[in-house]
Amino acid sequence: MTMSRTLMTASAIALLAGMAAAQDSVTVGIQLEPPNLDPTGGAAQAIDSVLYSNVFEGLTRFMADGSVVPGLAESWTISDDGLVYTFSLHAGVTFHDGTTMDAEDVKFSLDRARAEDSTNAQKGLFAGISDVTVVDPLTVQVTLDAPNGMFLFNMAWGDAVIVAPESIADIASNPIGTGAFSFADWVQGDRIELTRNDAYWGEAPALASATFRFISDPTAAFAAVMAEDVDVFVGFPAPENLPQFEADPRFQVLVGNTEGETILAMNNKMEPFDNVLVRQAVSLAIDRQAIIDGAMFGLGTPIGTHFAPHNPDYVDLTGNSPYDPDRARALLAEAGYPDGFTTTLKLPPPSYARRGGEIIASQLRAIGIEAEISNLEWAQWLEEAFGAKDFGMTIVSHTEPMDIGIYANPDYYFQYDNPAFQQLMTDLNLTTDPAMRSEMLKQAQTIISEDYVNGYLFELAVPTVAKAGLQGLWLNQPTAAVDLTGVSWAG
């Protein structure tokens, strides 16, 4: 009798222990499925959402607050002329297949990304590299054509992660990195599973395994969270349901910032948008708060330039384009369009564009501008609006971090061509002094804001819904990532 009671107690304890042990895995919902698992060969954000920092690591890496810290490189020195970066790599780092990560792999990764036949979506990150030299197995030297204040930042991108020549052939379906989690399984259309890498060089993660599930339909996403099929949904697609989750003690809601400047882009080379007065009129005709409330259910921070508000160098320039329809009408008349004009407004699929577009069209109608809306699929948008520049206006969120440099490219789709701005960006790239860089970045924001290049709407927010006990999630999205290395269950 006593014996069996002890046994029962023991099994009850074992049961409890089993339940506690079950709390070291997490199921993450995200909206889009990665098309493949090669972060160095495609722009799809979903690839980085699953793999960044979890499976793949670069020389440097982004932290949740957007800062850049050492990654696989333990430390580095920069030559006085700013041209030569000498990286010291962490010792004892291995890839998930057991091979050693050393300077040869770094050289291979960087040379591959900048090669002529490279299919790296952010090849520009590597454009300034003129040579990569292996000094010894743990030291690698990168030589640049010209000083580049952004170089360490660039190396933190998901597109600049370190891959191995031994496993590169199958990277799209079997990614082998150095991260705290290794790739376990991919049931296409349903889920990707990661397991803890016990040979990880850094601090071991609390989670033993993680599952990513892909739920694109907003209603299905709501159901999956409510039914607790997923523990956390990053980038929850139905903002209208957030108050319901906030009121439910089972859940927590985190609303963070992204690097997504959402803009009403105008075709600066096309009549009438080649006239700065017209662009100013459009900017003044827009009521940002009405768009944030109406299209985004109140999520989003108004911006007055192309820069992320959470960045320390951000300048609030919303005052350059306050909502003032009367002045907008006067500006239109001054520009020679007293009766307004008709133009196109091409909208890609995200709700910020589709819902925001309807509101903007009605706001523009109030000052006499007739915007003909056409809804495009992404592929169509890339071809017509982005590629062929066949658009008057369009709405896009530019989610790449620190991308104000696109305004220096006169061939970029909104076709802003300002030699003074281009010179400023060239100088910025050559500047490594932080104080001077900060000053120049502020100047750059002011120039494009005062030129009314585009209508600056808001910084895209990213809502995350998670179970109450889950901690260590990224609040902001300085880059597309669901970094699980610091995530754990409370208690």
Binding site: E33, P35, N36, D38, G42, A43, A44, E116, D117, S118, T119, N120, A121, Q122, K123, G124, A172, S173, V187, Q188, G189, D190, R191, R213, F214, I215, S216, D217, T219, A220, A223, A224, M226, A227, D229, P349, E377, W378, A379, Q380, L382, E383, E384, F386, G387, V396, H398, E400, D403, I406, Y413
Partner: protein, 315 residues
């Protein structure tokens, strides 16, 4: 008979050729470059050109059509642009979700429709008939995706008997797979069952008015005996035709239901592939579905000939 079969077969081949041309042309005409889509807004033109070469997109349109068709004939569906894996393998994985779902839904729909239809026919004009017909009216009118959301709300969110969606995979156990497909199958089956029950009822009632049933009644059978022994068998022919049509519909029509329950089936594959301009996947999956429908029709044509001797003589 042989001439009839050959004629049907020739029409099958011709349909396939026409379908492949239409599918290929339509999908090529839709604007959007898969390489540009993959590389996004920061890609350089030379990178996009390199990827187009890698994908084989710089070949001429007729050359790509020919290589697609000749590949398919040999069972090689080509390589997905975005997933970078063979399309045949992707389709094979997804078929094991969509096909069982369609079969499951068809079984459910038949199990519901037959008793309901027979019951209603046997109670013609009485309250039982009215109740069944009213219910089928509702079943036909309710869109299946809305009904699916209702099921999720009740059985996944409130009662927690089922997951809200997803599919664990058959390798994790048959029961788990069947459970994951249950709500989607019910959502697909009910509207189909409603249609089928109505067809069953009206077909039975037609038969009950026929001379041979009257003869059966005259020789002393009760109305119910006449229905079960004589009318039911003959009433099955139009019902089986409808079942055949419904199967093609269920296989191809799961697209929306697969979205609602985030099931990794063929429908979801097409949906993802269209938005990523993964042309080769879209073309191949659509072609496969067309092939399935055409083959089902071919089988139905043959079945008619077996059932109806007049077709054999004429052919």
């Amino acid at each position: 008979m042989i001439r009839y079969v050959l004629a049907r077969f020739a029409s099958l081949i011709l349909s396939l050729i026409v379908a492949s041309l239409v599918i290929f042309t339509v999908i090529e005409i839709i604007p959007g470059d898969p390489a540009a889509f993959m590389l996004g807004v920061n890609a350089r033109p030379d990178t996009i050109a390199a990827l187009r070469t890698e994908m084989g997109l710089d070949a001429s349109v007729p050359a790509r059509y020919l290589s697609w068709v000749t590949g398919m004939v040999q069972g090689d569906f080509g390589q997905s642009y975005t997933y970078r894996t063979p399309v045949a393998g992707m389709i094979a994985d997804r078929v094991w979700v969509s096909l069982p779902l369609a079969v499951y839904a068809l079984i459910l729909s038949t199990l519901i429709a037959f008793p309901a239809g027979i019951y209603a026919a046997s109670r013609r004009g009485r309250p039982g008939d009215m109740a069944v017909m009213g219910a089928t009216q509702l079943g036909v009118a309710i869109p299946n995706f809305w009904f699916a959301m209702l099921l999720v709300l009740v059985f996944a969110i409130n009662l927690r008997w089922f997951s809200a969606g997803g599919f664990p995979g058959w390798d994790r156990g048959v029961w788990g797979g069947v459970k994951a497909l249950t709500l989607p199958a019910i959502a697909l089956a009910l509207p189909q069952a409603a249609i089928l029950a109505r067809v069953m009822r009206s077909s039975l009632l037609d038969m009950l008015g026929e001379d041979f049933v009257r003869t059966a009644r005259a020789k002393g059978l009760s109305r119910r005996q006449a229905l079960w022994r004589h009318a039911l068998r003959n009433a099955m022919i139009p019902v089986l035709t409808i079942i055949g049509l419904q199967f093609s519909f269920l296989l191809a029509g799961g697209i929306i239901i697969e979205q609602v329950f985030f099931l990794p089936g063929l429908g979801r594959l097409i949906f993802q592939a269209i938005s990523a301009r993964d042309l080769i996947v879209v073309e191949s999956v659509v072609m496969l579905l067309v092939f399935a429908v055409i083959v089902v029709n071919f089988a139905v044509d043959l079945a008619y000939a077996l059932v109806d001797p007049r077709l054999r003589v004429k052919g």
